[in-house]
């Protein structure tokens, strides 16, 4: 019983589960599962999701939630593509097209993050309502903008309202730069949380905002910074996803919300705030990607895959509450 309690409280619990799950799936699925090609695919699937989940972790540490990340991805994607598309882009043919588009995508992400943060921190609106509203607004705006742009600049394109023909330099990001970019985001986030003053403030504000305010911490700007970082991470993920598909697309990553929040929670980041680490998020993302990929390889129906993922996230949330209760009991 004592060992079980220890295991439940271990911050490496999900890491052990991942190793065990991978091994069991190797038995079930055989050589395709452990092939180099599949391992590369698993890595490719987890990297952009890790960036998204790290951003979500910052918000969750402050006891908030950001549901708008998929809209940020979509809007940044179509804005960036509309600038740099070699066929119909506003900066087509210009040597500035590619860097300006990247800057615009990052600007879109941080702007929406700032909007969310301002509404939560300064207007005191509930994070759920604010980010659900921005999700709806910017997802709709992305669809409208994409359709309008293609209609206006490529009226003969009867095939789709997405924006293709992106520069080779941009599409090469996915092949050549994904791992360094994600590693940089992960290391920077780790250092920010563990070594910087802002990191300490984030944990303090998430644990007890009233006590933080009384202690003189800048609670509002700390919350604002969490949403800003989340928006920035979503924009970086948008760059990676858009580069992967070589298309600016208003539906890009539209189904990722559950994965992002799920991976963050599964890793051990608390929904109640004050708790979260980059390495935990990594474990959560790895676990979710393993489940997704293995169930697809087993050819289970998509609804079964979603049921399994939902169940795992539910178990993780229950585990989070149980761990909190055990820790509270131990503290008393």
């Amino acid at each position: 019983m004592k060992r079980l309690k220890h295991l439940l409280l271990s911050e490496y619990l999900i890491c052990f589960v991942c190793v065990g799950y991978f091994a069991v799936m190797a038995l079930v699925l055989g050589s395709p599962w452990v092939s180099r090609y599949n391992l590369e695919n698993l890595l490719a699937a987890l990297l952009p999701l890790l960036v998204l989940a790290i951003g979500q972790m910052f918000v969750m540490i402050t006891a908030g939630i950001d549901l708008s990340v998929t809209a940020v991805i979509a809007f940044a994607s179509v804005v960036g593509a509309s600038l740099m598309s070699q066929e119909i882009g506003l900066l087509a043919g210009s040597s500035y097209g590619f860097p300006v588009a990247l800057a615009a995508m990052l600007l879109v992400g941080t702007s929406i993050g700032a909007l969310n943060g301002f509404a939560v921190a300064f207007a005191r609106m509930p994070p759920f309502v604010v980010t659900l509203s921005t999700l709806t607004f910017f997802a709709g705006l992305a669809t409208w903008y994409s359709a309008w742009f293609v209609d206006r600049y490529s009226p003969n394109d009867e095939q789709s309202s997405s924006i293709g023909d992106l520069p080779d330099a941009f599409t090469a990001i996915w092949d050549d730069w994904t791992l360094p970019i994600v590693a940089t985001v992960a290391i920077a986030s780790y250092l920010l949380l563990s070594k910087s003053v802002l990191g300490h403030w984030l944990y303090a504000v998430g644990t007890n905002p009233k006590a933080s305010r009384v202690s003189g911490l800048p609670v509002r700007s700390t919350i604002l910074s969490a949403y800003l970082i989340c928006g920035l991470c979503a924009a970086i993920a948008s760059i990676l996803y858009t580069s992967q598909l070589a298309t600016g697309y208003a539906e890009l990553a539209a189904t990722k919300s559950l994965d992002v929040i799920g991976a963050t929670v599964i890793g051990g980041t608390s929904l109640f705030g004050g708790k979260g680490k980059v390495q935990w998020v990594l474990f959560g993302v790895v676990f979710l990607v393993l489940i997704d990929s293995s169930l697809s390889m087993l050819s289970l129906p998509s609804n079964v895959v979603e049921i399994c993922k939902g169940a795992v996230i539910l178990v993780a949330a229950v585990l989070d509450a149980t761990r909190n209760r055990i820790r509270l009991t131990q503290a008393l």
Binding site: S10, V19, G30, S31, N41, S161, T247, S293, M297
Partner: protein, 347 residues
Amino acid sequence: MNITRRDFTFGTLVAAACTATGCQRSGSGRDTIAVLFDGLYSPFWVAGHDAIVDSLKARGFDVAEAMSAQDDEKQLSQVKTMLAKGVKGIIMVHTDSKAVHQAIREANRMGVPMVHFNRAPAESDYPSVAIQADNRRITNEAVQSMVDVAKERGGKYKAAVLIGKLGDQNAIARRDGFLDVVDQHKEMIEVVSRIPTDWNEDVAFKGLTNALSAHPDINFIFTSSDFLFPQIMQAMKSADKWYPIGDKRHVIFGGFDGDRTAYELIETKFLDADGVQELQLEAKLCVQAVVDLISGVLDLSQFDKFPHVIPDPGFAIHQGNVNDVRERMWGYQLWKQDQTESLAAKS
């Protein structure tokens, strides 16, 4: 928590043993074809999916399936998973015609042929085969039949068109097919409402309800997909516009797909015309194409542009030709099968 070194070593060894054992396992010996749809959100896709899977199994293939929920990034990941699984061919329904290019590229890289069911990708350098209905022409024919009815009845018409997802080239072709015809009859038909549905029943219902409130005189409705019929019927009933052909209050009504409800509505004289995709033919062509590509009978190097499209000619069914062409309508086949089964159950 403190995990002891012994616990860690033991766990690692067990995991490594499992993984090594997994490496030794081999497959069942039968070739596997991946069937990747972006969702089964209408009777057309359900029937198409079933026809393809049944046909592949009948030819002795194993089938590996996945749904992407209209997420192309997820579908790319599923394509890679299937390639890792060692499938011999891929039949897929993508969502966006440009975003699918990377999936085709990946399949090409692994030497696995890809066939697209019902939706063709945008033109590219990546070789693949698509089976696709001529959506624009079939819509032209269906809407022309509606216009002929309008001419016969006389008077002026206010039209509403329910448009599908704008990332879907079929939706765009059907919208344009509708506009091609009504724009030639502007003196008689005015399009007062273009309703985006996003291929979603709720959105379609709300959109049409709002349109009928704003324009109570709408008397000409075309939907880009038959799967929206239940919601359209509900909205029309609420607006007191659901009357059969022959009644003065009848709204000239048309659709696209050729599903079972479409046949029932034609049979009961509520639907004037419907564009029909020959689903069974498309499924058959799809399976044949993937088999031919695997065996080398179909050689993509002989084509100069991609995707190589194998067309489904399709047709329009209307009150005037229903008895002549209904055997080719997949919705009628489903309807007839149900009738036969229910008669057998009764006897």
